[in-house]
């Protein structure tokens, strides 16, 4: 039969294109507006990655669970718990850096397993499970220690402060010091994790099942996919990524305390959504989330470069830019969809 088909295009790719285009538009706008303040320097761009390395990994994990139609709001607290564990183990309990890191990774897997079990096998709503997870991890952080612990473990610090210099883009600042662009190992780890997750989602059965159950859980079940196990693994993967994220976060801040990483979950969710992931599941891409995070980072960089905003204006401006972006994205998407109809 001859079939008339609605114009071939794919929401995911489309939203991703919007996001990437808007990101570059925004960044270039920043270079023009703040051209006298050094916004165009390579290091400013690299700082986006340095400061957001952990968020990139966490947003990737968030993307995975969001594709299944779930959500994980425990990530911020979990990061705090990871940092506290690292700090406490290395500074108070005499563990080595490597052991501590491995234990945190394991904890991430266990944490993901428990949350995943509750979500997939007991069918409790993800929001509630991870809300409990959020409370639990934050409270546990306080139970481990109510102090602020600085990490002074030499090995850990050497990881944290090991600059990897780039061979180009250096400049001399006003103090006459030659500043050479650099990144930290955290950035490389984050990017590797991102690529691995991307490949996992695209090229493995597990990855495709995640999309399938997000698209329609009943259908996936009736098509003979093991929905529960897939979802469980998605949360385990998320837990593992959160642990990596926690470690990267700790490499950036080198300390543990109760209030750490508050609200990180919202940043991760915002990053994923701006990157074109649907909270309803089935649609999403980790690279989208990467750009979502970078967009948020760029907005924040604008604010620091602006440099005169008071606290309230900072919040309002961030929200306004966020609103602008979300609404623009929604308008573009819906006008495109209309054309399709």
């Amino acid at each position: 039969m001859k079939l008339r088909r609605k114009k071939a295009f794919n929401e995911t790719t489309f939203l991703l294109t919007i996001t990437i285009t808007l990101f570059f538009a925004m960044y270039i706008a920043g270079m023009i507006v703040f051209k006298n303040n050094g916004f165009a320097r390579l290091q400013v761009f690299l700082n986006l990655f340095i400061s957001n390395a952990s968020l990139i990994v966490i947003a990737a994990g968030m993307t995975v669970v969001m594709i299944t139609g779930g959500i994980d709001i425990s990530v911020g607290s979990f990061v705090a718990m990871s940092c506290m564990m690292l700090a406490h183990m290395m500074e108070r309990s005499g563990y080595g850096a490597i052991h501590s890191v491995l234990i945190v990774l394991l904890t991430g897997i266990v944490f993901g397993f428990v949350q995943g079990y509750l979500v997939s096998y007991l069918k409790i709503q993800p929001f509630i499970v991870t809300l409990a997870g959020m409370f639990f991890a934050r409270g546990m952080t306080a139970i481990i220690s109510q102090d602020m612990i600085s990490i002074k473990n030499p090995m850990f610090l050497s990881w944290a402060t090991h600059k990897i210099y780039l061979p180009f883009g250096g400049y001399t600042n006003r103090k006459g010091v030659l500043v050479i662009p650099y990144i930290y190992p955290t950035v490389i780890i984050a990017l590797i994790a991102l690529v691995v997750i991307w490949a996992l989602l695209r090229y493995t059965k597990f990855g495709r099942r995640i999309y399938a159950i997000g698209g329609s859980e009943t259908s996936a079940l009736l098509m003979g996919l093991n929905v529960r196990r897939t979802r469980l693994f998605a949360y385990i993967l998320d837990g593992f990524l959160c642990a990596i994220g926690g470690i990267l976060f700790c490499l950036n801040t080198c300390s543990g305390f109760v209030e750490q990483a508050k609200g990180l979950e919202m940043e991760a969710i915002a990053g994923a959504v701006i990157g074109g992931t649907l909270l309803t599941g089935g649609v999403g891409n980790v690279f989208g989330s990467l750009f979502g995070v970078l967009i948020k980072g760029t907005i924040e960089t604008f604010i620091t470069f602006q440099g005169t905003l008071s606290s309230w204006w900072t919040r309002i401006t961030i929200a306004a830019l966020l609103a602008f972006f979300i609404i623009l994205q929604s308008l573009l998407a819906s006008s495109k969809l209309k054309k399709r109809r």
């Binding site: 600042n173 500043v179 950036n252 801040t253 209030e259």
Partner: protein
Amino acid sequence: AQESAAPAASDNLIVVGYAQVGAESDWRTANTQSFKSTFTEANGYRLIFDDAQQKQENQIKAIRSFIQQDVDYIVVAPVVETGWETVLKEAKDAGIPVILSDRMMDVSDPSLYTCWVGGNFIKEGEDAGKWLIDYLKKQGRSNEKINIVTLQGTIGASAQIGRTEGFGNIVKTQPNWNMLAMQTGEFTQAKGQEVMESFLKSYPDIDVVVAENDNMAFGAIDAIKAAGKTCGPNGDIIIISFDAVAAAFDSMIAGDMNVSVECNPLHGPRVAEIIQKLEKGETVDKIQYVVEEVFDTSMDLPAVKATRLY
């Protein structure tokens, strides 16, 4: 690196990047205001202000951004004491001196920052304790058993740690003082009230409430009144508080609060002084306390309040 400081930018202003915690309290707002009114173009400065919304990550980002913006000095009021190694090293590598305000930083290498300006929380706590000794002596209750409860600040905050420790130092010297309970009221009035309500039900005879900031004290006062008790100089319960913001003076004048130990937020001028010295190439003291007083109801409070800026 300070000698090599290049002459200021074309407009000859000294560029200062200030990474503030947020605007979580009146104290903080007064502190910000102090910086904004000191580092004006008229005074020869350009201030780049960044508000971290109470998040350390944001402050780290801000410091990195200051480095890229080629500021002459970085001033940080750290959200927390820990975790600054990496980014301070970046500032040092770029040759930019860092001045700390309000809270300390816990770093392995003290040369990472130039100096620190702030109040002495432990001393504040001790001052409060000493005030109580005097006050009880005046009332002739020195040998009575005194039951105390403490509304702590947000656990882990420097102010909470310092004030708890300072007051604790005095408690240890007074065998007749009995610390019934300590619970955090998270520096807010509402939580202070809620926790105080709970204290009042569990402990029928409380003599002294130590609230680690004024807001929690206000909440505690409300809870006490609601429970049918009285507080203040003429009441059943003695209220000791910290910060001495304007509202605390109102409360003392109204006879609800006994004492408030000042925590001076006006760090701006002090930091400006330091920067001037550094510009001239002089060395500065590593630790610089700001002056702090104790205000209680025995003073002419309306007159004192009129002279205060916050």
